[in-house]
Symmetry: C2
Subunit: 853 residues, 2 copies
């Protein structure tokens, strides 16, 4: 028997053309007909009509909204459907995260948020067993690693390079075993992975949603157009997979709003196709789920090909590389990353401040509206593959940003309470949101103020602070009254660029920095009408324009604290190069925008670093900010690439770093947000900074990516790149802590005047720094009397002679713990410590460690 | 308290852009998203969720299809919902009939078909109490009369002239008492009639169907865009009616396919609006139905203005007169009318032939697929306001015609059986469908054949028959062997037109006949972009082009049987004028088409009759083939008309006749189908014959009305007009029987050779002719042992000195019956005779008389 598994499903974007709440309610249906509340209403109704029917649901952000609006009777019915396996949760994170532009820490948080809700609500029967990333535009190895470590049985996705897919279809390699980590001992990060045959859509002609026009099954012989025989034959002609089991995704974007249409016709399909078994047919159709399908594949006891690299970049045709979104909406990408840092700070201060931080002098909150959950949910939503990816409509991008801001506003109350508790002073703390544009009303108006710096890392950092002030002489002291090295104002010296800073003991870097722009395709060339857009990167030419070859005007500042060079390339591109006292990295602060488009040319702006390193077509990019993968120009490890886009086809996402190296030298760039990067020439590394485009790229968003600015017609983006130039074998020792410091930044808060006498000026949650290899990933209140701590080994296997070794941490637990690279060898991922008082969740592995306090 | 009655409803066209079965199944949703099976599924589900919810359903053609596909459990649930008044049937005919182009006999049949199904299925609780014609494009007085006589409590509709509506809104005359007959004694044909405030749509901003984009009620304060207060205020600002009750139609075309969207938001609307009562609000919102609303109006004990004319023509703006569809698709209009004649013949022969006619030598049939029901249903569907109206898409027009053909094919089996039984001979009867184009294989090939003529009227008629033959000499005899007057071939004499025929003892008519065409508006003039289309008639100029002023070529045939003149006006317009021996009427057989449009001009072809009659702007048109209404140029009896379209604004529908008159003379034209007609000049009467247009007219059909022909690029239409020229006071004595003879035509069937010896050659179902005033409207098998007979008085009050009087019919019943004009004075409409064995239906009045046999 050939078993055809019909998998009824809906794919509900947590924001895209509409905001997440507009999607939930079915508001603004003129933009897109989609209302998730009705989908869940309808599916629950239809599942009750026949115990054979199945449905899977994926996005917990939506399910949570719906669930809390249901009465007890409906909740009981849903629970029963879940217990009976008729409604099955799949993936189960708050959203279906993007894989190219997300940081692993935020991905783990959003998975935790969704899975925890399912666990709290449904227990074991609500546990998703299959990861399901049917829509993201390429697939990161780190995501697969996380899924494996979370205990998923398998992973299904829909999008991969068209050449790869064609090959896999031919060689029947659509299913595989993905070995998703170079550090973890197999099978710790091994994950069964299946490519869905039809993306995530139904076979052609079998879409029975209200949004589709396919013919229904007309089985009343008294009416016109009886078509049962025709439909059954068409179905039997569909193609087959490796095993005696086929999965057919019966659904698509926001489908099942009227589930009756689907189920009524699938009921008939099953009835009429299976009726042919009496006449010798060997085809059996059934309602199923991905986990049921996977179970059948397991029973078949087959062997699968091995996959060790990832699925980037994604192209769905020869000139259609989805490598633009690696950089799209750079300001949103930064804001999401900063919000993560703030949320972690908020989480930590909630634990450290104790219960009163949720209900203290600056505000109250119950568990449902408490500051943290708002922020956590905003971050959860922001991980969606049309959120931080930058592929949403402009009004939706604003909504994501607004949610993050609201989340932080709630967190501020908690942070104020906590700081008051920890310092013993209720003097209010002020936060300055606009330091990036040198605005802080308190510091600009006050003659005397104090600044509190909270460092969320597990170790001491040195962090230069720049504040806008109006005075000319300031005395700066630390908590103990000791003077702090400081400087007011700039000393401007105009110079030609020379090899000026190089205490770095290496070749001259500055002259090799250039800012360039690719001319974005307008879709009017003969090869293909594909344009550059929010998703797609497609330059008209492989040679970018240099913005200003000589960078004539420069201003240089020198002080004991920082050495600084400002380069003006054009009115819309500038760069400040800084070297801080005692730091080994060079900081490039780039400012790009408003990108001019009055010339009718869309522009994709890169910074390019050209060195003498003999990198020979190889370069390296991180995966979701964690492990690093080797890349090679015009090459894919898995198949013989026919390169059709020499620039866009060599772009890869970077989330925290990229590097090139030879035997002696390594140039590493640590970024402050996700970006696209490539190495197209020997010794060269380029990073895309900003994009402004004039055309939509036909992937549904329906808008050109042209972000409006606050004060001008285009968005100005500003960011930082940290460059280190080291021998290859010590590079990780520098870039690992540097990148974690970029991810978790100190939180500054201000108070007017001097602190009152009894104020405690210093506090540490740690008795001593964590070992260099150990990163405090999470410190968060789990519930009233439980705290979640996640520690991880932050070095990849073999990258550091010093640190890529097991390390022991004493957490005042009964036994010391040994941690290997990236995780501990016992297979319990990320979260290594189990104290005697810990409650270990057995149903979900994503939040596996909790310490009752 | 102001009570706002929310009436959830769907308007399901029985064919329009898609065929009736495509609408039922939801097939071809690329044309229009509509699937009635899902509407009923969904509504039944949603009604069960809350006993307060209500729904009305109208079109039994769809409900019947759905009902027979349901299992017993669902049927039980539906029955309960009906019994509890939660699901209420409204109108309840097989379709919502067109009012301009239907014949009353077919309307009564289609109402009977729908109402009988409801009665058989649900009994008293299924009885519709309100007539509901929310969409037809103008309203006929005869329809209101039929509804009143059927016992409906009231009538609601949506479309009336925009000037009339504006006036009624202002004077609060949206509700009225319609006195719908000049013959019946009030209140026999009195009907409460209400104009719906918003057509049949929901108020702006409150459409919550899946097909709408209005904002849902977002009442979760945790989500963005909470809008309860805004929605409630908007609702309270809606306008009010005369009583303390408002009806709001919450639905529209094919809505409620996903009824949850509607009910979920209406539930919230009711909850939040009524919640304000606690704060002093006087507005109460409730789920309701038209009959509940009507009951409240009755209790209010108000008086209503009186209406005695009708609601034609309908205009929705100054240049937008819906008077084109009176003529659109003339061939379909004829075929529908002929099919009615055949169906009545079929019905009669089923009764006369007895049970074996359903299961005889030429075929079998059970009650569900028996020939009659197929034909009845096809006729029922054809009465729809986008069927015989001609306002459907071309492929749908074909579907209606195909259904009628299939219906007749089924009837043929029954007729053959019945004729075999009645004649005592099983020799098969052949039917010649194509006599209109002189094709009949049997008569063209046989040297000796017999012809059977069945006359479905209740009295003897004289009917000339023309057959295509190949011989040159034929001997024609009747059943008794007596010679019948006959002639083979034509004698051609070429003449100039002169006053040639007029044994009619009147002025010369022939020179006053002309065929002309109006140039259809292409929408490019400055007053309005309105075009002529399937619905709209809008000539560019009030002066039509004369096709050929002199009609140079003429052929005249003279025989003892018929005098015949053929006029060729152009290659695409010709006319044959005939006067038959012993007949008082002149027959005009017109042939129009293919209408040429290569000149880029759409054409609306009329025939115009100009006489010396001093008609002084008055003319007369029938209503659905029954009573006749007075019309006056540029005038409406109900309001002061501002005439904006001097031609189209004076067009009225005629179904059987039109006339002009003065003190001495009356010219009456009897038609073979529904057409548009007007009198724009003193003594002139014009009738639109055919239309071919190049543009859609923006009323949804999305096609220009340009019917393809079988052998050419445009449809050729052919038809007959019967002209009588009489004194006014004897006109009805001629045109009443003439029109009934046109509606119920003899059925011809043929047999090769001579009948066998024992064949009974003559048969009559009547012992003697019915009195001239009495028309046999229906003779039909009701069930196995019951027959339905409908007799009616066919003269309007006062139109005939001889016949507009009560008349007594002896039907071998226990008491003789007295019949008044149009009906019997006791108020039991149409159906006067109740034998001692009759079973009188008390639940429905439409099929009120049955005689058990």
């Amino acid at each position: 028997m050939l078993n055809v598994h019909l998998v009824p499903h809906t794919h509900d974007d947590v924001g895209w053309l509409k905001t997440v709440d507009q999607y939930y309610y079915g508001d603004r249906n003129n933009i897109q007909h989609a209302g998730v509340q009705y989908i869940l209403d309808s599916v629950i109704d239809q599942l009750q009509k026949d115990p054979a029917r199945r449905f899977i649901y994926v996005e917990t952000a939506f399910f949570y909204r719906w669930w809390k609006q249901q009465n007890q009777s409906t909740q009981r019915i849903v629970t029963q459907l879940v217990n009976e396996g008729r409604l099955e949760f799949i993936n189960g994170g708050w959203c279906m995260s993007d894989e190219a532009t997300t940081h692993y820490s935020a991905v783990i948080d959003q998975m935790t948020l969704g899975l925890r809700f399912l666990n709290d609500t449904f227990g074991e029967c609500g546990r998703p067993r299959v990861a399901w990333h049917i829509d993201p535009f390429g697939h990161a190895r780190e995501h697969a690693s996380i899924f494996a470590q979370m205990g998923y049985d398998g992973f299904f996705f829909g999008r991969l390079d068209y050449q790869d897919k064609a090959r896999r279809m031919k060689t029947k390699e659509m299913e595989m075993l993905w070995r998703a980590s170079e550090s973890l001992t197999p099978p710790l990060a091994d994950l069964f992975t299946g490519v869905l045959p039809n993306g995530y859509n139904p076979p052609e002609g079998f879409c029975w949603d209200q949004s589709c026009d396919d013919a229904p099954i007309r089985d009343d012989p008294d009416l016109e157009d009886y078509n049962v025989d025709e439909i059954v034959q068409k179905f039997l002609n569909a193609g087959f997979y490796k095993a005696n089991h086929i999965i057919m995704t019966m659904g698509s974007d926001f489908q099942y709003e009227n589930a009756n249409l689907w189920y009524k016709n699938m009921d008939k399909l099953i009835k009429y196709v299976n009726a042919l078994q009496a006449k010798g047919s060997k085809v059996n159709v059934l309602y199923s789920t991905p986990s049921c399908y996977l179970q059948e594949l397991n029973l078949a006891n087959l062997t699968w090909p091995l996959k060790t690299d990832d699925f980037f970049p994604y192209a769905d045709d020869a000139h259609d590389f989805w490598t633009g979104y690696f950089t799209s909406r750079p300001a949103l990408k930064l804001y999401e990353r900063l919000s993560n840092s703030r949320l972690q700070t908020c989480n930590q201060l909630e634990v450290l401040g104790g219960p009163k931080s949720k209900s203290g002098p600056f505000g109250e909150g119950d568990s449902d509206t408490m500051s943290k959950s708002t922020s956590v949910r905003a971050m959860g939503v922001a991980q969606h593959h049309d959120a931080v990816s930058g592929t949403e409509k402009q009004h939706v991008a604003y909504d994501y940003a607004r949610r993050l801001a609201t989340g932080w506003a709630h967190c501020e109350v908690l942070v104020r309470n906590s700081l008051a508790i920890l310092s013993g002073s209720e003097a209010p703390h002020v936060f300055c949101e606009n330091l990036n544009i040198s605005v802080c009303p308190l510091t600009e108006s006050s003659h005397k103020f104090s600044m509190n710096v909270y460092n969320p890392l597990g170790r001491t950092v040195s962090w230069p602070v720049r504040l806008p002030v109006n005075g000319s002489v300031y005395s700066v002291t630390d908590a103990n009254g000791r003077a702090v090295d400081s400087q007011v104002g700039n000393v401007f010296i105009s110079l030609k660029c020379t090899c000026y800073i190089y205490d770095m003991k290496s070749s001259c870097l500055l002259p090799l920095l250039s800012v360039r722009w690719y001319n974005a395709s307008a879709g009017n060339n003969k090869e293909s009408p594909q344009t550059s857009g929010a998703y797609i990167f497609r330059p008209n030419s492989s040679d970018p324009f240099v913005i200003n070859k000589t960078a004539e005007t420069q201003i240089v500042t020198v002080s004991s604290t920082v050495q600084e060079v400002t380069q003006w390339f054009s009115p819309w591109v500038s760069q400040v190069v800084r070297l801080y006292e005692g730091h080994r990295e060079l900081e490039l602060e780039w400012t790009v925008g408003p990108v001019p488009v009055a010339d009718g040319l869309g522009k994709e702006v890169i910074t390019r670093l050209d060195t003498d390193i003999k990198s020979s077509d190889y370069f390296y990019t991180d995966s979701n900010g964690r492990e690093v993968l080797e890349r090679r120009k015009d090459y894919r490890p898995t198949w013989e690439l026919k390169q059709t886009e020499p620039v866009a086809g060599n772009y890869y996402p970077i989330n925290s770093r990229a590097y090139i190296k030879d035997d002696k030298h390594q140039l590493t760039v640590v970024t402050d947000r996700s970006q696209g990067a490539s190495s197209l020439y020997n010794g060269s590394l380029e990073i895309m900074l900003h994009r402004r485009l004039l055309y939509d790229d036909y992937r549904g968003v329906g808008e050109p990516l042209s972000e409006p600015g606050d004060f001008s017609d285009g968005l100005v983006a500003r960011g930082r790149l940290l460059l280190t130039f080291t021998p290859p074998d010590t590079a990780a020792d520098v870039h690992r802590p540097l990148a974690q410091g970029m991810v978790l930044q100190p939180l500054l808060s201000f108070q007017d005047g001097t602190p009152s006498a009894n104020t405690k000026l210093e506090f540490s949650g740690l008795q001593t720094d964590l070992p260099p290899a150990v990163h405090l990933l999470t410190l968060s209140q789990w519930d009233e009397d439980t705290v979640l701590i996640r520690l991880e080994h932050q070095y990849q296997a073999k990258e550091s002679k010093t640190h890529s070794q097991p390390v022991t941490v004493n957490l005042q637990c009964q036994r010391p713990l040994t941690m290997g690279s990236d995780t501990e060898p016992n297979g319990d991922p990320h979260f290594l410590v189990t104290s005697t008082t810990a409650v270990e969740l057995t149903t979900y592995r994503s939040p596996p460690m909790q310490i009752r306090v």
